[in-house]
Assembly symmetry: C2
Homo-oligomer: 233 residues x 2
DNA sequence: GCTACTCCGTTCGCTGCCGTACATACGGCG
DNA sequence: CGCCGTATGTACGGCAGCGAACGGAGTAGC
């Protein structure tokens, strides 16, 4: 009985079926709603989350500045990586930005499963590696690429995570994600709209032309996507 | 018989003495010289390196731009992290920037040691965690902080890695590290020199006032240092 | 000594983004 | 309907950093 498309997380789905079932028994499905804070900076991690069709962003705090989004987690990953590295507190803030479902497990159960299940270890390690590559890429991206290209990249990443061309995001929120003013987003988004790549109105963004948007995005998008695809294959 | 100060790597030194010796037997001391490339983007990792008083920087490539340094490895860390995560190719370029010694091991030996030695695993995992935090911090730093503060930060980090107030770095090189023009470095460094925090001439930089330089650096420096100190304690 | 080369300093016009402020459109609710 | 809160559009001065070019100063080699 294949699970519904929306209930699949790549890190778990890659497990053989007996392992999968064993892990699933300890998982609890939860609904994540926009604005929910899963982890706070420096606070203990209570649960690990495996998003299925929700999307969660990780943010760093910077003195005297707004928070900045450093990466995005969806069905391809998990939240609670520090646990897998022997650290109990979250170094970042995890904020739900795409409504949807996730599977969660208590930290204690995860540590047990993780210790015993070599395949789970392998998948998580692989994911940690991808995450590091993505962080490095983002660091460079933040340095070099312009707002419009970065915006396009985040929209595409968001689409991949929530598996939908329709996103609900205000420009204000995008500004916080990208670390720019809302006005900057207005201009960049306006340019993308004028090129018929996206349309939007009052917090509902629709990607009209994925191909075109990829062309408008900075190369970071393709690079990361290539890595993700190659490792999940 | 305690090892000389310059021959210590924190990840290894934290091992109990019998483990330490076992690992040391498989390690080979090597001299790293400025400009040496240890890993290339996308190429297999032949050895892991544990710097003792050398300093190596990791760089990402970005299409149409110069390479950007995303982090710095010294005696507090190691090179070859992907191996510990089940990946054989390096996603970044590793470039020696501070002359000094390191201990190295073949990838095969490392994988064996790593599999068997739980304490080594624990140390390396802890280091991976620190690295991720630092990458995230750097991403934000690149977005928000000005050249002068970032320059001060890198100089301090460099000092901590090579354990010396005297660094040999041209402004041109610093420009590549920070992802700015050499001219930008000239101006920032000039400002720091005018405040008697550093002095320099033809590729030799001397930190005159560490305290003052910390004050001039962006808060990222203190944040990362605090994390490093807390985990190595 | 002279030359060649590397490293550093300075200038100029330009642009992308900032900070701020204000104007407009849309939607829900009484 | 009119009101109000939220989302979006536009405008303006200012600045950090860019790209490019050139001048000077220390170092090495012949």
């Amino acid at each position: 009985m294949p699970l519904a498309y929306q209930a699949v997380n790549s890190l778990l789905a890659a497990l053989p079926s007996n392992d999968y079932q064993h892990v699933l028994d300890r998982l609890e499905p939860v609904t994540l709603t926009f604005g929910e804070v899963l982890y706070q900076f420096g606070k203990p991690i209570q649960h690990v989350y495996f998003p299925t069709n929700s999307q969660v962003s990780l943010q760093t705090l910077t003195e005297g500045h707004q928070a900045l989004q450093v990466c995005m987690v969806g069905h391809e990953g998990m939240l609670g990586i520090p646990l897998a590295l022997g650290v109990g507190d979250s170094p970042v803030c995890a904020l739900v930005q795409g409504n949807g479902m996730a599977l969660r497990m208590t930290s204690a159960n995860f540590l047990n499963e993780f210790r015993l299940n070599v395949l789970l270890q392998r998948n998580v390690h692989r994911y940690i590696h991808e995450l590091m590559v993505e962080l490095a890429q983002t660091a460079a991206c933040n340095r070099f690429h312009h707002v419009e290209a970065r915006l396009a990249r985040w929209l595409l990443m968001m689409r991949d995570r929530v598996r939908s061309n329709q996103l609900h995001l205000t420009q204000d929120l995008l500004g916080h994600m990208l670390g720019v003013r809302r006005v900057g987003v207005t201009q960049a988004a306006g340019a993308l709209r004028q090129r018929k790549l996206i349309s939007y109105s009052r917090g509902e963004i629709i990607i009209l032309d994925g191909q075109g948007l990829e062309a408008a995005a900075c190369p970071c998008y393709r690079i990361n996507k290539r890595i993700d695809d190659s490792t999940s294959a």
